[in-house]
Symmetry: C2
């Protein structure tokens, strides 16, 4: 990197804030144990699967005036799964704590995600290496990957690699699945007397790794601010040109936390929430009703423009689409050995599908626009399944609303214009320079991960809480990974997994949207958050998410 942007040059100088307990240094830490813990559900099954690591206490760090020394040790770190802003700072915090504890300590980075530890691909960090990545976005420092660390062979290879490098602790930076695997690896290492500890760090822009112990996953703050910047800019454009309805799809996998947070920051006219669609069993037709009704009423007020925010995972939550897609996946393998199908034109294929689906699912399929039918035909994942994330839900909705408006026009119930633009934001936010919040939070998570290692803990998640207070007041400690687990069916088998958080319809965050929805639909309450600011007034630079503020105020209320 010979060539840096002006912002990058300045951000390299930023010194992330630490909780005051950690700021006094690794050698002055005291760990305070809470009481024994249990998993959120299925305690019997989980404790049987994690004989050595289950039921441990939570810990919190305090500062003591005494200081203790630290024997030299080597640690490895892995970035797992999709990018989230701040990953580099987790590694920088871990590195700084480790070198502070003992300059002889070594930090190894495994390359390309979990496969790095299995295949023994790694780098050793030094000051110069780390310094080039401080407060930057991306996971390019060592790369990431989606290999799942879960088999006996993988654990065995990882052990061999760690032995070779003299590594006695591994930090896994990842989402719910990666942390589930961190727990399995921790248990396996203890069961095999490997003498290798495993610590997890909560990463995901999706915001679905969140529970009593984790207030927020890192990256959610920066990613949602980036999407909110763009939505706000588009709102201002729509409100100036008064010409287009913009349909904006927002990344975030199944859960709608990202779309909800971005909407609370920008107050668009329409926000769909997948969890609401599922729980209220809203059909596609009722969603089209909801959108069309707002389009018509705004048009009656002279407003042929607006903004709709749509969560990425929506269509998997619409009951009839879910059923149709499942049916489509079922018949697909048969169809692909049918030469009339494989040699047919697109039109032939569509006709065959319509004849093969069950009658209910067939009529759902028939109701879809041509573009979506061909997307359903074309993109299949390696298992032959429909790739839901590739379906342009924003265009599906636009096309169906157009049809609905056309028939309302015929009935004389609508006389407006419906010109549209569609957008999808995801990759734009996963590698932004971390906000001050994420820079501080991530650095603290990494620093704290080493503190957990230094106290000999394993199977713990690095935990930094009280995050709406100034960083000095943040509470650092650790939470047993098993505490967040329950049993869920995966590929037909019951597995211990960290429970994903979905948007709670009776929680304060969704309620805020629900209360204001009609006002935001008809009156233009657009908020323009603008670009993330790293310098300047604290009111602009150091605020975290609306979601966290609302969740915290409920806790206080």
């Amino acid at each position: 990197m010979t060539n840096l942007s002006p912002l990058q040059i300045e951000r390299l100088k930023y010194e992330p804030k630490l909780p005051s307990s950690l700021a006094n240094g690794i050698s002055h830490l005291v760990s305070v144990e809470g009481s024994a813990t249990q998993s959120v559900a299925n305690q019997d099954e989980i404790s049987a699967l994690f004989r050595n690591t289950y039921g441990k206490p939570t810990v919190t760090f305090k500062t003591s005036s005494e200081s203790h020394s630290c024997e030299a040790r080597n640690v490895g770190v892995i970035l797992s799964g999709g990018q989230a802003p701040g990953g580099h700072n987790v590694i920088a915090g871990l590195y700084d704590a480790l070198k502070q504890a003992n300059p002889l300590n070594k930090l190894y980075g495994f390359l390309g995600g979990p496969s790095g530890i299995i295949e023994g691909k790694y780098v050793e960090f030094d000051d110069k290496f780390i310094d080039a990545y401080r407060n930057t976005g991306g996971f390019d420092i060592i790369g990431s990957g989606r290999t799942k660390l879960e088999t006996e062979e993988q654990f065995q290879s990882s052990w061999e690699v760690c032995k070779k490098l003299g590594i006695s602790a591994v930090v896994i930076i990842g989402g719910d699945d990666s942390n589930t695997n961190a727990a399995l690896l921790a248990e396996w290492f203890v069961a095999h007397n490997a003498g290798i500890q495993v610590i997890g760090c909560p990463k995901t822009i999706d915001g679905d790794l969140k529970n009593e112990q984790i207030e927020i996953s890192f990256g959610f703050d920066t990613a949602t601010k980036t999407y909110a910047e763009l939505i706000g800019n588009i709102e201002r454009d729509a409100n100036s040109a008064k010409k287009y309805w913009h349909f904006v799809k927002i990344m975030g996998r199944s859960a709608s936390h990202v779309a909800l947070e971005a909407a609370l920051q920008t107050q668009p006219n329409i926000t769909l929430i997948s969890e609401e669609v599922e729980q209220k069993r809203m059909s596609l037709s009722s969603i089209i009703d909801y959108i069309s009704d707002i389009v018509v009423r705004r048009s009656n007020n002279g407003k042929n423009f607006g903004i709709a925010v749509i969560p990425e995972g929506l269509i998997e939550f619409v009951p009839e689409l879910k059923s149709m897609i499942a049916n489509l996946n079922d018949i697909m393998s048969t169809l692909e050995s049918n030469s009339a199908y494989t040699n047919g034109t697109d039109a032939d294929k569509i006709a065959i599908i319509e004849n093969t689906l069950s009658s209910e699912n067939s009529s759902v399929f028939k109701s879809l626009p041509a573009l979506i039918k061909s997307q359903l035909l074309m993109d299949r994942d390696p298992h032959g399944n429909v790739q839901v994330s590739k379906i342009e839900t924003e265009k599906l909705l636009i096309s169906m609303v157009e049809e609905r408006l056309a028939s309302l026009k015929k009935e004389g119930k609508y006389s407006g214009k419906f010109s549209t633009q569609s957008h999808f934001f995801g990759y734009e936010g996963r590698c932004a320079f971390p906000s001050n919040f994420d820079a501080d939070y991530c650095y603290s998570l990494g620093f704290n991960a080493f503190a957990l290692i230094n106290f000999g803990l394993t199977g713990y998640l690095s935990s930094v809480r009280n995050l709406t207070a100034p960083a000095t007041e943040w509470i650092a400690g650790g939470v047993p990974l098993t505490m967040m687990m329950n049993m869920e069916r995966r590929h037909g088998e019951m597995k211990p997994v960290i429970k994903k958080a979905l948007v709670e319809l009776d929680g304060p965050v969704f309620k805020k949207l629900e209360t204001n929805r009609e006002d935001w639909a008809m009156n233009d309450r657009y908020l323009f958050p603008g670009a993330i600011q790293y310098f300047g007034p604290s009111s602009v630079c150091d605020i975290t998410t609306v979601t966290l503020a609302l969740e915290k105020s409920l806790v206080k209320a």
Copy 2:
């Protein structure tokens, strides 16, 4: 606006910088006249069309120790065409200068673009109104519109409206077409002894309103910074995940200034420039060659990822597509009165088109992917023409590169993976909070526009130059609009128009890309500009575009 974002609250307080000549106040200005001017071409025709306003001198403002008073007068302002960051500051600067000159002065804003002055729809500004919009993005203060102010009836109505409001000067904030119309209106008012002056301000994110007299149009700086933020974030994502080729189309009408500037700020692997495609008469197939070659060579180096930046107007510059689209537009009206066509399925329509186009154009059409064929079929503008801006060029290129790679694979010349994501950025940047540069420049343009009015000038463009120096050293003055004109064919007739600037292939800006292109293609020289910063180090907050810096350094060299 009861509800403001934290950034908006802080930005309302920002005090834009003025050139020192203007900062001493309207009443202390002296105007220094240059020599008589002439149009860039077609001097005889232009001078005949602008008998009263042609040939005037340029003017520059200086400060004098004497002060002069200003009679009370009313001014009107119009926002014309597409949004560009900073429009609100032009109005704020104009308002502040006008009120400073005489508190009895009034500023009227015409609503919804040029139609506001024709239909007499307006607001009167006061402090509270203006204050709510300082340093904000968007044109929502009074709205904008695309009505062309050019007919005798429109001029007559505008005169009536101005008379009613006692308006003796109109400021038109717009791009090349709107400023051409400002020149026509100025001439008409003089010819009719209306006693109404007209001043233009150079607006457009496209960057194509630029010449010897105008260093940059406002909005280009902020919009390109916003697109560069997003491209940089995507580059970092691509470089972390090492999984996708991202094809990013960038707004900017015909000229490629925006794509070029965004590319210089981010250094992607591939940047296409429409002007180069046209001048070198590059066929679609040679563009696909160029892209595929880089994809293959990167893949040979183990890199199955990258970023390609594509200017919005590209396909109009590809010779065979241009010819095919012209042919398609010609035959379309005939086809639409052909019932076999209008009642046919998409497949029927495509077959009929393929039989009706000339043989060369037909084979071009046949070579296009199905998605693009149907986009060519579907979206037509009010004149029945293909809407080139709606064609997803980024997907067209992806699809054709995929095909090419598939055949290279068969020949054993390529063994990589080509997974793609496509993006289109435009609406995301037109209404961002103006950068400090655009906030200062726009405020100065507006303030300066009133200075021009106050000296009794008409048919002038507000001009602020020397923009790579600190704002205090900027040079404020005015340029006769006719000076930038030539004659061009529009809808079959020769018309006087302001000459659009295209990317110059022998200029320093394109040369910078050309020199580095091969290095950026193969080695990852990605730059991550990050979000626009409004506070903090001047190296981050107060820099303007790479384009301007390069153009200036050539002027100096």
